[in-house]
Symmetry: D2
């Protein structure tokens, strides 16, 4: 029972089938192939407008490349202090941008409060040569606490950023989970809400390794293509990535996968709360469960073969359990039963 992360899963059937199909015959390398053209078309459809989409293999690459177009080397990108770009990418944004800084904002449940952003930008020394220059904000949707920004929160944050001339990036490693949770369309959650660039993640939701950097105004993609190539992120056999994206962009894949993972997390969280004395450390909104567990429950689960991580930044007794597109409800129920048994066991 692996609840370590959604990237512990492999690829879903539709993706595997697409890879098999894409392997037929020869194709021009480096993206001048039919699958890449189809991926571009599929993303245009998904977002209901012509976008500039650049497939890459990892979320870290997607984020860092996107930000390198938005921020100059002396720029500053604001994000939540728990953001993946700050905490989990070993300095990738700094590397790709040539030295830009991340400005950290705090707020409950992984979300940047609009007021925090507004106050920070009001006090920022825009135009002052001594100071790194505010260039962009990056919103993680869904957040690193398993929560989502509501549509109006995204709009409000984007509005503040744009007022000061900053670009708005969304780290969508779990974008599908957020869309599924909000019951909205991908367009509504992005460009219609003021997002300029999206790291569109498929890997965590059923692809092998497929992300796309999506510029909603194709004219702003700038020199992305050069930056991707010199970073070694332009695959020669690009159809490997593109075919995954084509399969994934089908609503019957991305939304269904995400909805399943979200539902499994709901089931798991509810069960742990009801039967194992667990307390939700953050609202349970997507496919991640952050729960405070008693020591005996946590230990009992681990001993019983339930895999997950401690999450001390959310509390010393907090743990994270993540469900995936292919999480088996039987495994969820088994994990709950193990937790419940540990809960009821004498000390």
């Amino acid at each position: 029972m692996n609840f370590h992360s959604d990237n512990a899963a492999g690829a879903c059937e539709a993706v595997m089938r697409a890879l098999h199909d894409a392997n037929a015959g020869a194709a021009v390398a480096y993206g001048d192939d039919p699958w890449t053209a189809k991926a571009q078309a599929a993303l245009n459809d998904l977002f209901e407008r012509e976008v500039a989409a650049f497939p890459v293999a990892t979320g870290t690459a997607a984020n860092a490349l996107a930000l390198s177009v938005l921020a100059p080397p002396y720029g500053k990108v604001y994000c939540h202090r728990f953001a993946h770009i700050e905490e989990d990418e070993c300095g990738a944004p700094e590397f790709y941008s040539g030295g830009a800084k991340l400005g950290l904002l705090d707020g409950p449940d992984g979300r940047i409060p609009v007021e925090a952003l507004a106050e920070t930008l009001a006090a920022a020394a825009i135009g002052g040569v001594h100071h790194a220059q505010p260039a962009a904000i990056s919103l993680t949707q869904a957040t690193e606490c398993g929560t989502v920004y509501e549509l109006d929160q995204v709009c409000a944050l984007a509005e503040v950023a744009h007022r000061y001339g900053l670009a708005v990036h969304m780290d969508g490693a779990r974008f599908a989970n957020a869309v599924a949770a909000l019951g909205c369309t991908p367009a509504e959650l992005t460009w219609k809400a003021g997002i300029d660039v999206l790291s569109f993640g498929a890997t965590k939701n059923g692809a092998w390794a497929a992300e796309a950097v999506v510029f909603f105004d194709p004219g702003t993609a700038g020199d992305f293509a050069y930056r991707r190539k010199r970073a070694g992120h332009l695959l020669s056999k690009m159809r490997l990535i593109s075919a995954q994206l084509v399969a994934y962009c089908d609503e019957a894949v991305w939304r269904a996968n995400a909805a399943h993972a979200n539902a499994m997390a709901r089931r798991l969280g509810d069960g742990l709360v009801a039967q194992a004395g667990a307390r939700l450390a953050h609202p349970l909104q997507i496919n991640e469960v952050f729960v405070a567990l008693s020591e005996k429950v946590a230990q009992g689960m681990l001993d019983g073969g339930v895999g997950f991580h401690g999450w001390p930044t959310s509390g010393s007794d907090v743990h994270r359990l993540v469900c995936a597109f292919n999480t088996d409800p039987a495994d969820v129920d088994r994990a709950i039963a193990i937790a419940a048994a540990a809960h009821q066991a004498p000390q």
Copy 2:
């Protein structure tokens, strides 16, 4: 009939099968999985010693990451002026190293002459603070002209480099083709000949996207792991790459694939010379054919559906045709026939 490049092909059956197998079940992300352990073991076996191997998805990433460990930001890496790292990676080595320079050497057929290297290093201002500091050499094996360095040439170049304290990197995007051409072992062509680090390429020879940076002395890998992560080249579902490598490291795959590609190029080159008035621009040693063609032959081939690139750096009338692991001999013969017909046609 696609002879544009060996990366116009997809993946071979063994690789596809491995991907399918690797998709079963959950696995710890970021390389702590059984397939990555097997890939490491397979590379140890292949090279007949314990190595430190780091799978990545592209050859540009492999080269640039490897060199970033070998050269400081103010370092200098010597390579042939036709080297992929100089000509075809949009500045990736400079990016990854933080600004190191490439020092260009010239020599016939894509090979660096030993004397050229020796003279250059003898004249280099090693230790002089005004000058970028010699740090490494990079040999492309097989070369960008479709030729190979003989074992004794590799040894001699490595010996000169080591005498001056430089590390020796081998760009092995077509490593298997070189090994197959030379009839030697991977160990003989690398660490036994003085190579310190190899970009071991599988993509061009039957994988989808799989390379490994191989440090023959594991203690010299230094901070590679951090550099790979911050470049976004540590895949979360690492088994996608590792499983390809496991399948590929089987001699029945890599050597057979390479031998086939080499044989097809031999057949193609011989046919063009014998029947279409072609002249080999470089010795035909691996799976690439560099031929000077008359304009009518070149045009006739293109018109007849034979795809290939002009190669002006080897001569204004020179063209490159590349065979792959799955090139069909019937296609080769058809291409020759089309060329022969064009050759005999009245002007």
Copy 3:
């Protein structure tokens, strides 16, 4: 009456005289000259041990170059959130290090509390490939709030850093002011307390443009010389900087200059508190006065020709007044009188 900053002053007489003397005759360029040798000897004397000293022209260069030797591109340097390297250098540390991150710590009066550092390092993911790696701490002495770390505080912070393998840098833009305030020796405040590298500032205390990066263990200076050159901070006529340093390293210059500036600030601060209703926002320990002023006093001073800056990060009504090596006590008294008059004026 300019109290904007200590760098509003020019150079002191001893420095001007040294420049004049150093201008006689020819000298080998780039630091192989007698003045640079004398500067090295003077710094050895000042610090009571053989050090490796590298003169540069600015404090930002000193800090960024020093940190680039201490931290890898994926490294993390901890500093106070008000530190000059974070707030006032437009991303220089990130630029020079190739992308290292600054980790911000908070604490009253510009000082990093020992516990804050200890807790942060205890929680840091040292060795985890996903995370920027803790590499160094940087202490600003005196701090950006005009306070000093006591000797035992420096020792305790350095001890914690060293326990985790981090190097300890001191940004000594106002180092002399701190030494004068503490009544200690330069050695006591640096290597005897655990400092590994010092940005030794002279510019703010009577030089034109002269700083030295001082490695207390010469063996740790690493590739500093190459990094300085490629940053354009190796002056050809190096004696311009070195001569300033030679003059400055005389205790009758550096300590006397600093003691005067400190005393003038004391006089100014005491006067404003006693006569103008001011409140010290931070302890007054060196040559900087941080005071909360009523609006009418602040305005009255500005109207009366007293120049200074608002300092909102220390409070919305806080202002900073800085004295220099050549601040005229008459100007101080005049400023106080103007403030007192404004204070007593009817609203």
Copy 4:
């Protein structure tokens, strides 16, 4: 008798006087001072148009900062293979640009032939994502071989560069020597001939440490100010540099200094040729003498106390002797006499 380099000299009287004058009183730091305003005005006058001028302390900083505005991180800057930016700056252009490449052109006497540039750019893969993108050319005027580009050569090179959309930089470390040699105006040699940005050097010609990056179209200076600051090249007591520039921009200083240095080199070169069997290795056009000397003459001069460098890149028996603004004609004559004596001595 120091003929090692023109930067072996100190500063000229006018510069020393200006420094003395600039030391009076307080001034706003970081360039908002009257001397910096005067330096800007003086450069406007010198170049007969409004320019954007940025004072810095070194030529390496001037060049690298200028190029970092002209070339993106994946850009390519073409220069002569002997250029200072390639040979003598330890990778500064690569550092400042974030990894741009230098493309090397060859040509006699340190000059880039127009045809070489034209052919190179015609063959460059502009717009191809695999290749570093041509962004600028950099002309060294005077060249590293002590020669000058004639006005029409500058025009022709700039015309070719502009045709392909490249910017044109001039490294003017010895700009005054070139202007004096050509008998033209600074405007004629720069923007009137197509130069976009100039590294205007004063250090080698009588300043201590003073260069200015001059953008002839102020609108193209872009983010130079931020880049200078984050590189630590914005001096707090900026008047130190600016005052030097103000003094230097007087034609009675820069042109007179340069004319003297050029004349001394003429005298030295003529004498060595006539009396010591020397052969000029390059045309003698400015203040540098490149001469092939017999071994006994070279050794005799060194033994006689004449200081200079060997210059093997211009020939194994070639040496460089450089005169400065303050070279004493008596020293020149003495050096010639020593050489002549050595020449006539029996083997």
